[in-house]
């Protein structure tokens, strides 16, 4: 039994649990299964041998590796499993079979994809993440969520199709589908897979599926969605495109532009979606640098980010669950009725802002140092700008407008116990991995799990230089906030829709399609009419010339044509006879 468990991808167990969960109406039984499955998965992962093919299969002459654990995917898989466990606890207050099951299947698909050892297995679970996660948006039950889920599904499936097309090119070129890093983007297969990853990682201009769908998902759905898809893309990017310089610039731009959108966005869950974009930018930038220190930074950041982003989405989910809104202009003063949620949100805010003693600090320091060490001055300055931006939208805006600021007068119950428990556990992780190393805990525990633990353990995040510079950055930024608020220069929170790149397809593209449809609706019948008219006239002309009643049939002699034909034939015969003679 143990030998079997050691060779079984934990993701398969989660997918199976999810599918079975959809069919179990008994709430407590189903929820017990949802909580137990990730714990079993973590146990299975702890038993797996690293850097060897643990489960293989053959399909259509292709060698597939269904389960392979190595130093890169271990930390991602572990983070996914912990997130699945926390999500299951967070969902205990609700009784939704489909949501419970699909959330677990989605987590399982992400885990299975993380531990996939070849491109084709990756593709299968890549698509499964899309198909299973769409239910988390659909279950919101609104018209807006329905449209958003259809856009989400179309874009996610497009990513899968691009991945599959890329795989066929790779197979044609190499004769195998192994998960080996590409050396350049010149190969069409590499380029197609790059775009597939780019969609899932929400590269600039490919990012709007995220801000469109996550804020429209259910209370639990947004928490679940925040953990898996983008980080699976980060892992795939680290696997296939490490050290690609273009990623440094894509990542740096990704960290910057969401900052400006988050400032003016009123929906706090959408602010978190922009913040997610910004955080993934740090990871993508680190992958672009590609050195062991940078890849450690990307992996550490992904782990820490999954925890604190889930925590922030959980706190906003609790606010949404109790008050019915996450619009900043309708909230404020909730610390009076939801104090524990406030504390957990503040821990998440401190973690994402990278305050020393919180998880973001020990993770982001690796990336910042790696970028500086390789001499990318402009990219480093962009990341530093974005660090202050993170503090603005996730560190201050989220807790300030929801829990403090202007008192909205809303007096609600504190979040349900299961939500508080999940937030408490996530907070504990955020703090425990952010502390200096002690007794196997602290940041040392995280650094031991990184792809290059030797390099990581030589890195000291808690130096006087690091702490001083980080505190300078954060405290002066906080001072800027206090001054801007004091002098009335902070833009007020206003309801509205903020236009982003999705305007191109939701308005411009949709409008063009509508216009084209209208034009075709009118031009089609007109063209049919003209074609009918021309054909009718042509037929009339031909009929007038060649029919038995036509012009050519008329003449002095009946059957004149036959006589002419006979005469011409006779002349031709005579001529040929004379020529032969």
């Amino acid at each position: 039994m143990m030998a079997f468990l050691e060779t079984l991808n934990p993701g398969f167990v989660l997918v199976l649990a999810g599918v079975v969960g959809c069919l179990i109406p008994a709430r407590r039984v189903r929820q017990g299964l949802m909580v137990a499955a990730p714990l079993i998965g973590i146990f299975m992962l702890s038993q797996a041998n690293q850097s060897m093919d643990l489960a293989t299969a053959e399909l259509l002459g292709l060698d597939l590796v269904l389960y392979r654990v190595d130093s890169l995917n271990f930390i991602f898989g572990l983070a996914f499993l912990i997130a699945a466990f926390l999500n299951a606890i967070y969902a205990l207050h609700s009784d939704d079979q489909l949501q419970d099951g699909m959330a677990m299947a989605y987590a399982g698909a992400a885990v299975a994809a993380a531990f996939a050892g070849d491109l084709l297995t990756l593709f299968v679970f890549w698509e499964l993440t899309a198909v299973s996660s769409v239910f988390l948006i659909l279950r919101a039950g609104t018209r807006a969520a329905y449209f958003a889920s259809m856009r989400y599904l179309a874009i996610q499936i497009l990513s899968g199709v691009l991945l599959l097309a890329g795989i066929t090119y790779v197979y044609q070129a190499n004769g195998e589908v192994t998960l080996a890093a590409f050396t350049s983007l010149d190969d069409p297969g590499a380029m197609l897979i790059f775009f597939a990853v780019g969609i899932k990682a929400a590269f600039p201009f490919l990012h709007n599926w995220l801000q469109d769908s996550y804020p429209k998902a259910t209370v639990v759905g947004a928490v679940v969605l925040s953990a898996f898809t983008t980080k699976l893309a980060v892992l795939t990017c680290a696997r296939l495109f490490p050290g690609f310089e273009i990623l440094i610039w894509i990542g740096a731009v990704m960290t910057i532009f969401p900052v400006f959108f988050a400032v003016i966005e009123n929906d706090l869950r959408k602010v978190l979606a922009y913040s997610l974009n910004n955080q993934v930018g740090f990871m993508i930038c680190a992958i672009g640098v590609g050195t062991p220190l940078a890849l450690n930074g990307a992996a550490a950041h992904a782990f820490a980010h999954i925890m604190y982003k889930a925590l922030l989405f959980m706190s906003m989910g609790a606010v949404l669950y109790r008050t019915g809104t996450t619009k900043a202009n309708e909230l404020g003063g909730l610390y009076k009725s939801m104090p524990l949620t406030t504390v957990f949100c503040l821990i998440g805010a401190a973690s994402i802002s990278a305050f020393p003693l919180f998880s973001g600090f020990v993770a982001k320091s690796l990336t910042m140092s790696a970028v500086a060490y390789e001499g990318y001055v402009v990219a480093w300055l962009m990341l530093l700008f974005a660090s202050a931006g993170v503090l603005e939208h996730s560190g201050i805006k989220i807790p300030y407008f929801a829990f403090f600021g202007h008192d909205s007068g809303k007096r609600v119950k504190e979040a349900p116990f299961n939500m508080l428990l999940a937030m408490g556990l996530a907070s504990a992780i955020c703090i425990l991995i952010g502390l200096p190393s002690f007794f196997g805990l602290g940041y040392g525990w995280l650094y031991d799990l990184l792809p290059y633990p030797d390099v990581a353990n030589h890195y000291q995040p808690f130096t006087l230089d690091h702490i001083l510079t980080q505190m300078q950055l954060l405290m002066l930024a906080i001072l800027a906030f206090i001054l801007l608020k004091r002098f009335g220069l902070y833009p007020p929170e206003k309801p509205g829709t903020i236009l982003d790149a999705d305007w191109t397809y939701r308005r411009l593209g949709f409008g063009f399609a509508n216009w084209a449809g209208t034009v075709w609706g009118k031009a089609g019948p007109a063209m049919t009419h003209i074609a009918g008219l021309l054909a009718g006239r042509g037929y009339d002309r031909i009929e007038a010339a060649f029919s038995p009643r036509g012009q050519l049939s008329r003449g002095p002699l009946t059957g004149g044509m036959a006589i002419w034909a006979a005469a011409l034939l006779g002349m031709a015969m005579l001529l040929s006879f004379l020529t032969v003679q």
């Binding site: 039950g141 209370v219 759905g221 406030t342 504390v343 503090l391 300078q472 002066l476 800027a480 801007l484």
Partner: protein, 129 residues
């Protein structure tokens, strides 16, 4: 007989100072007991002032500490005293102040795309399920 006098006047037509109805402030009596314990200080009148001066003192301390500590940076220009503080302050201020023009440029009606309210159906539950 109903009072037909215009608003702000009594039945004799004289101006009177009417008491304008004010919205009763939501009292702190409904505060969660843990909130009183953890965040009782938030609503104190002196809190904003304390935050303001506290932040100034901490920031001044951090900038002064930079003078005393010689930092080693991979990028040498970052060794300039107070570089991180100035960059953080400037970045934050730029990001926030850009919200004014960007809001005017990009903000549209809430139902701009005509898809209706996006609040999920499981939101706004007061009692535990």
């Amino acid at each position: 007989m109903s009072d037909t006098s215009p608003p702000g006047r009594d039945s004799s037509g004289r101006f009177v100072k009417t008491e304008t109805p004010t919205q009763a402030p939501v009292g702190d009596d409904q505060m969660h007991p843990i909130a009183k314990l953890l965040f009782g200080w938030v609503s104190a009148k002196s809190t904003p002032g304390l935050f303001f001066w506290g932040a100034i003192i901490i920031c001044a301390g951090l900038m002064l500490a930079d003078l005393a500590i010689h930092r080693h940076e991979y990028l040498h220009f970052a060794e300039f005293n107070g570089f991180y503080g100035i960059w953080g302050f400037g970045a934050f201020a730029l990001a926030v102040l850009s919200g004014w023009p960007l809001g005017r440029l990009l903000r549209r009606d809430e139902d701009f795309y005509g898809e209706g309210d996006a609040t999920p159906q499981d939101a706004g539950v007061e009692d535990e399920a």
